[in-house]
């Protein structure tokens, strides 16, 4: 039973409070979505969970252990893995080599300097399975720079999965994708193994309402409301502050960011 807890987490950049007393509990194997208008502090919250940022105050606990002071690398090693909003890959490597690299680091074979990489069949086997899992099995030998944007987003998730995570943080996995690519990503996310705790930041409300067990609405760094998709849909405050303002954001995210 792995549970991720945040207790009165606060983070400010100068006078701008981007995370304010966020206390949340993420239960093992559940699916969470974090939504909120742009600038609500969603990505900052992810950066705090993953260890890219240190909170000003408050605590983060994984399975009861205080992990607040651990950096990104240590958190990746105890089971918190993330994908990034902007593709953050090994650009000169192939799809397979990207995933195999992450597997090699996780399996502690990366420091080996006396045997060629190709001899580590268990690493390559794992990388193949993950490529299959995210639907990139046909592109394994393609260099990242020749990969379509949507496939790069899939690889982004693959690198996070290679960390053998307990908790998977996906930062806008469908941002900038075409409808077909979004459908493929939607399928990928829904097929993730059930023992994994998954937290996504997502603007596509179709995906969010269908996927999430719990939805957290952030607004100006605070938890505005938390509940099941049905509760969120019917929440007056959410309608007014979020869905109302932007219109119910069904499929509107594709227009936000042009695909490169």
């Amino acid at each position: 039973m792995s549970t991720l807890l945040t207790q009165t987490l606060c983070k400010s950049f100068g006078s701008l409070a981007v995370t304010q007393e966020v206390t949340l509990s993420f239960q093992s194997g559940m699916r969470y979505a974090i939504i909120g208008p742009n600038g609500a502090g969603k990505t900052t919250f992810f950066n705090l969970l993953a260890g890219n940022l240190q909170p000003d105050s408050g605590q983060i606990l994984l399975d009861g252990r205080d992990i607040t002071s651990l950096d990104v690398t240590s958190r990746a090693r105890i089971g918190i893995a993330r994908s990034f909003q902007r593709n953050n890959l090994f650009a000169e490597m192939t799809v397979h080599d990207n995933i195999a690299m992450a597997c090699a680091i996780q399996d502690n074979v990366a420091p080996v300097f006396w045997r060629p990489m190709r001899g580590f069949s268990s690493v390559h086997k794992k990388a193949e399975l993950i490529a299959q899992q995210v639907g990139l099995e046909d592109d394994r030998q393609t260099a990242v720079r020749h990969l379509s944007y949507g496939s790069q987003r899939q690889l982004e998730v693959a690198l996070a999965l290679a960390c053998k995570p307990k908790v998977l943080l996906l930062d806008e996995p469908t941002s900038g994708m075409s409808p077909q690519e979004t459908a493929r990503m939607d399928h990928l996310i829904k097929a993730l193994p059930r023992e994994l705790t998954v937290i996504v930041i997502e603007h596509d409300m179709d995906i969010v309402l269908e996927f999430a067990d719990q939805i957290v609405v952030l607004d100006y760094g605070r938890v505005l409301v938390q509940g099941t998709p049905a509760e969120i849909k019917n929440s007056a405050i959410v309608r007014q502050r979020y869905l109302g303002e932007e219109g119910v954001a069904v499929g509107s995210q594709a227009a936000e960011r042009p695909a490169p």
């Binding site: 953050n88 300097f113 060629p116 990489m117 393609t142 690198l159």
Partner: protein, 327 residues
């Protein structure tokens, strides 16, 4: 011609090695000094380029060269160590100083790393420049060469010494090529391409860069030990920033990150220096002009540009199959 980028790179290296050996063995006595000088610079260039694989470009690499030369020469002359042991000590000195300096240097990158490495190398220079231990600015002569007469090779013969240096360079090159196909080497590549992502998947970027720095230090010290044997002389000039600059030029002109490029760049640099300095007074001016020209025409260096040309040609001949959703 179906040749991958990597096999083309390796083929260039093998061709360069064979060509260098043939030319050296058939060259006259005076040219032997140039072949030895170029091979030693190439070992030094490999040391810089191996570090560059991890995304760090040093501008104080002469510190390692100087340290290797002074460790070797100091122990061999002042302590009468056998040269073979003194070379081992120089290698160890390179690793140890690499680990110590690396502890703070590799926490930085980019321009800061350049400044830190430059500062440390200049510290070493000013120490040996003043230290009475090695006769300060006057330098110290009488540095012996490795004794390999037991295998029938007298290294005091310039021809033998040049062959020896080329063979050492080939060994170091093969070692570097082997390192980069191991998981450790692949991780260095990953760090160069995206250090943040390596951290995010649980890799300690600092540890890998520190190891690369120490390894680079050992190879740099080896080139210094060879340099001291070549000239039979220790001079503080071995550790000046000009030496760091020359090796950087050799690597950039040849193609950074390609290993072979640094080797070819070293040969070219030594050759041009010789030709220009024997014909012109302000020969460094001409050298600079030539390098600016090469940098403008071939921004990725000679070998880097050849490899890029191969990639473009390959992409033209094999257009990637379009995916159904990319229409």
């Amino acid at each position: 011609m179906v040749m991958t980028r990597n096999s083309l790179r390796l083929s260039i290296g093998v061709a360069a090695a064979i060509l260098a050996l043939i030319m050296q063995l058939s060259a006259g006595t005076f040219a032997q000094e140039l072949f030895a000088e170029a091979a030693i610079l190439a070992v030094f260039a490999l040391s810089l380029d191996l570090l560059a694989r991890s995304g760090l470009v040093s501008f104080g690499h002469a510190g390692f060269l100087g340290l290797g030369a002074y460790t070797f020469g100091g122990l061999a002359v002042l302590q009468n160590w056998p040269p073979s042991l003194a070379i081992a000590a120089a290698l160890a000195g390179g690793i140890i100083s690499g680990l110590i300096i690396g502890c703070f240097a590799v926490r930085t990158s980019g321009a800061f790393f350049i400044m830190v490495t430059l500062a440390v190398a200049e510290m070493f220079f000013s120490w040996v420049f003043r230290s009475p231990l090695f006769n300060g600015a006057d330098g110290m002569g009488g540095v012996p060469r490795l004794d390999m007469r037991s295998v029938g090779l007298d290294l005091n013969n310039p021809r033998n010494f040049a062959t020896f240096c080329i063979l050492i360079c080939i060994c170091v090159w093969m070692f570097a090529e082997y390192i980069i196909i191991t998981p450790f080497g692949r991780t260095l590549d990953a760090i160069r391409q995206n250090a943040n992502r390596v951290s995010a998947v649980g890799g300690r970027v600092f540890s890998y860069r520190l190891a690369a720095f120490a390894l680079s230090g050992a190879i740099g010290a080896l080139s210094g030990a060879l340099k001291a044997q070549h000239t039979n002389f220790l001079s503080p000039d071995l550790a000046t920033w000009v030496v760091s600059g020359d090796v950087l030029i050799a690597v950039v002109i040849g193609g950074m990150g390609t290993f072979v490029g640094g080797i070819i760049g070293s040969g070219l640099l030594v050759y041009l220096k010789e030709v220009l300095s024997s014909n012109f007074g302000h020969w460094y001016l001409f050298l600079g002009g030539i390098f600016i020209g090469v940098a403008l025409i071939l921004p990725r260096g000679i070998v880097g540009s050849v490899l890029d040309w191969r990639d473009r040609r390959h992409a033209r001949n094999n257009p990637a199959p379009a995916r159904e959703d990319e229409a």
